[in-house]
């Protein structure tokens, strides 16, 4: 197979990888914030539940979680699963997993904001929601950029785990080409594409970090 054809096939796979990436980023950043708020709730039961959830999601392989999400409906609830559920299962599995990591990153960020910021806001009459969104979160965002960058780079590479459910993302396709071709060229090309994408990710976060460096 020539390189051009290979790139075309890999490109199609890359689009699926990108889709997994973006859905996971948006979904898990939002779900992670909610999870973090539950994790920091004043109700002990909620706090413990969130803590347990996070510990399970971080403590077991993502690959295993993908299997549970995909096969679970059939084996546990006896629901018939259609092949079209595969990509959905990948989305769900990734979002549920990454939300756990992001929740802990948010928590570290929120806990690092000095109590004086809350006290000043309270004395100035800001409500709790106003304080959170106008005063605390903007500062949290700045502080959590480095760990979020780390997670995001890991996510780019983790999208390849979707191959375990035979979703046609870039790595799955590279594997198929390599098997048919009996050469590793497709793997090398895929590796380069992952790397380039991560360069872009790192660059974008560095830019954001710089933009927020107008204050400490």
């Amino acid at each position: 197979m020539d390189i051009a054809t290979m790139l075309e096939l890999l490109g199609k796979g890359a689009l699926v990888s990108l889709e997994i990436f973006f859905v996971t980023m948006v979904g898990s950043l939002i779900l992670g914030l909610l999870l973090c708020l539950v994790r920091m709730s004043k109700f002990v039961v909620f706090r413990l539940l969130a803590k347990f959830y996070i510990s399970v999601m971080r403590g077991t392989p993502l690959m295993l979680q993908l299997f549970v999400v995909y096969f679970g409906p059939y084996y546990i609830f006896n629901v018939n699963i259609s092949p079209s559920y595969k990509l959905m299962a990948v989305f769900i599995g990734f979002v549920l997993n990454y939300a756990a990591y992001f929740a802990e990153i948010y928590r570290a960020g929120i806990e690092s904001i000095p109590i004086g910021q809350y006290e000043a806001a309270k004395l100035l009459g800001y409500g709790r929601v106003q304080t959170f969104f106008y005063i605390i979160m903007p500062q949290v965002v700045k502080r959590i950029i480095p760990p979020v960058t780390n997670e995001t780079i890991t996510l780019v590479k983790d999208t390849s785990l979707a191959f375990t459910l035979a979703v046609a993302e870039m790595f799955t396709i590279a594997k198929q080409i390599a098997a048919a071709d009996r050469k590793v060229t497709a793997f090398v090309l895929a590796g380069i594409m992952y790397y380039v994408f991560n360069l872009l990710v790192a660059g974008a976060f560095a830019k954001l970090e710089k933009k927020l460096s107008y204050y400490r």
Binding site: K122, L123, L124
Partner: protein
């Protein structure tokens, strides 16, 4: 007319009694200084009065408002509008410019129009000698300038009483002077103020009433002359240590 009445306030942290049966009154236009050694309870008293700490008993009554010690959350929000607080560490919002720090609460909390809030904020910054710093960020300012911004921020909400929690403790002596001057100017305008301070000379000069606290009680109180000439043993010991 008294703007604030504190009656028999108590506060403990665990077994430690930090405030024991504290009563005092703040009159309109009065400058009250609270002095005393570390651990005497003066900061805790101020934090209880401003509801950053919950007092365990007694009454804290701002003119015409419900008792702050037993107030509901909604009532507390109302009571908070009555006074302002200047913190020892400024607690400015680092991600907002100087101007935004001053005009944001009037806009978001008091729902003032943007132009109106901005004009009022610029007026206050001018008064603090910081109009050319309006677009700077807090970290770009000296400690004294930051503290002046935080005073402007508190004044922007037009409080009836302004509290100061050791406003010069985080500043070197040179910068301390500029804050003391601002407070003096406010006193000349009859701003009602309650100041917890370590600056004895300043307390003597600017306050018309001084409270000396020791071990959770008001040990001596009165005019500056009465307090500084008092023969209370703890007061003499405290002043002696300062001179040494």
């Amino acid at each position: 007319m008294s703007l604030l009445q504190i009656n028999h306030v108590e506060k403990h942290f665990g077994d430690l009694e930090v405030l024991k049966d504290i009563s005092l009154e703040v009159e309109e236009g009065q400058v009250l200084a609270i002095i005393g050694p570390s651990g005497s309870g003066k900061s805790t008293l101020l934090r209880c009065a401003t509801m950053l700490e919950q007092a365990d008993g007694g009454e804290i009554i701002y003119d015409g408002l419900p008792n702050a010690v037993t107030a509901t959350r909604a009532q507390k929000k109302e009571i908070h509008k009555y006074f302002g607080l200047v913190f020892q560490n400024f607690n400015l919002f680092p991600h907002r410019s100087v101007l935004q720090n001053v005009m944001d609460a009037p806009m978001r909390v008091q729902k003032l129009e943007k132009e109106q809030a901005k004009a009022a904020a610029m007026e206050l910054l001018k008064k603090m000698g910081l109009e050319e710093k309006a677009d700077s960020y807090p970290q770009q300012l000296s400690g004294g300038q930051q503290q002046r911004v935080s005073i402007a921020r508190a004044l922007a909400l037009q409080p009836r009483i302004l509290f100061f929690d050791e406003p010069t403790s985080a500043l070197d002596p040179e910068l301390t002077g500029e804050i003391l001057k601002v407070i003096k100017d406010l006193a000349a305008e009859h701003m009602t103020m309650v100041i917890v301070t370590h600056e004895m000379n300043f307390a003597k000069n600017v306050a018309d009433h001084i409270i000396f606290m020791d071990k959770g009680v008001i040990a001596v109180e009165g005019t500056p002359e009465q307090v500084f000439d008092s023969d209370n043993a703890r007061m003499r010991e405290f002043l002696g240590k300062l001179e040494a």
